[in-house]
Symmetry: C2
Subunit: 200 residues, 2 copies
Amino acid sequence: MKTILVPAGHGRAFRIGKGGRFRIITPKGQQSADFFAFCADDISEGLSPHHTWMPTRSLHPRPGDAFLSRKRRPMVDFIEDGADGVHDLIIAPCDPIRYEQFGVPGHRSCVGNLEEAMAALGHAVPQFPLAVNFFTTTTVEKGFMFSTPKTPVAKPGGYVLLEARMDLICAVSSCPYDLEGPGWAINAPGGPTEIVVELL
Amino acid sequence: MKTILVPAGHGRAFRIGKGGRFRIITPKGQQSADFFAFCADDISEGLSPHHTWMPTRSLHPRPGDAFLSRKRRPMVDFIEDGADGVHDLIIAPCDPIRYEQFGVPGHRSCVGNLEEAMAALGHAVPQFPLAVNFFTTTTVEKGFMFSTPKTPVAKPGGYVLLEARMDLICAVSSCPYDLEGPGWAINAPGGPTEIVVELL
């Protein structure tokens, strides 16, 4: 087993072959892990929340679901959920533009983390990647999305077990979001914490 | 005023300058209009449902909302809703791959319509476009998406009035979906009907 530590607010990328299993863990709990995946044989084909939820009709991924690419190919199977269903497909990954709009230009972001992590493997990032947000609380009520401290959050040690359905290049970002917004509790109040990836 | 007829199950593209207003109409009602938009100065920057709903937190667009690009720039303002809120941002536009998976290869699709329409203006389509689905019924309950005959559908003559916030290349597809699926009533039971676009 190889263990990858994703430092708080940073990102790491890794290659994994078809059939390989890996676990993503939030050791301290309530830390969003933005998970990106790209087909190794065509990096422009990335994971797509929109295409993923068309067969499942579920805005929250569950064990048994497959995460699909933009060409509707199964990329990753969701094998086991050790975080009580606290996962999201709706939120667009934060990026430098988002933080500029928040008035904090230069703030670390999930897309920035992805770019750094992919560059470390020698890859540029295809334009406008979307993510699965593990350990991320969202609730939709009457067509509106909420993420409040009242909604369930991922417990310490929460994890997901995943399996690659094809050769992949993946990246995980410990979401650096640490701003205060009304009714918006993405990460723990104390600030971002580390994520651990175990390649089994 | 210029009127564009989008034949049932087909698509049409048009250019519109900043400040231009246009109306999209379902004359017979309950006909999904997949609306695509691309920045005229960089066609790779398309409309993004994911980025659109981050500031509004609404999975259904409403008058007063702006549709954002993947760079979070306002592309189109939603001025007036003459279809009682029956609009969707969740559904990925149907494409040739989707119909292959349904067992009907070669079936017309919204992405195919987009490609035909853009080609008529001399443009290739950037990879994996996403759409706003006007006159499309979806409801999210307990995290699951539904589109049933029980949910409201767009009335005959239903329309949306929109305004371009930048120079745009737009396309509208009369969604060709006419398959039968349990609990899935995207278009009227009689099959796809025409959409009308009025450039005001």
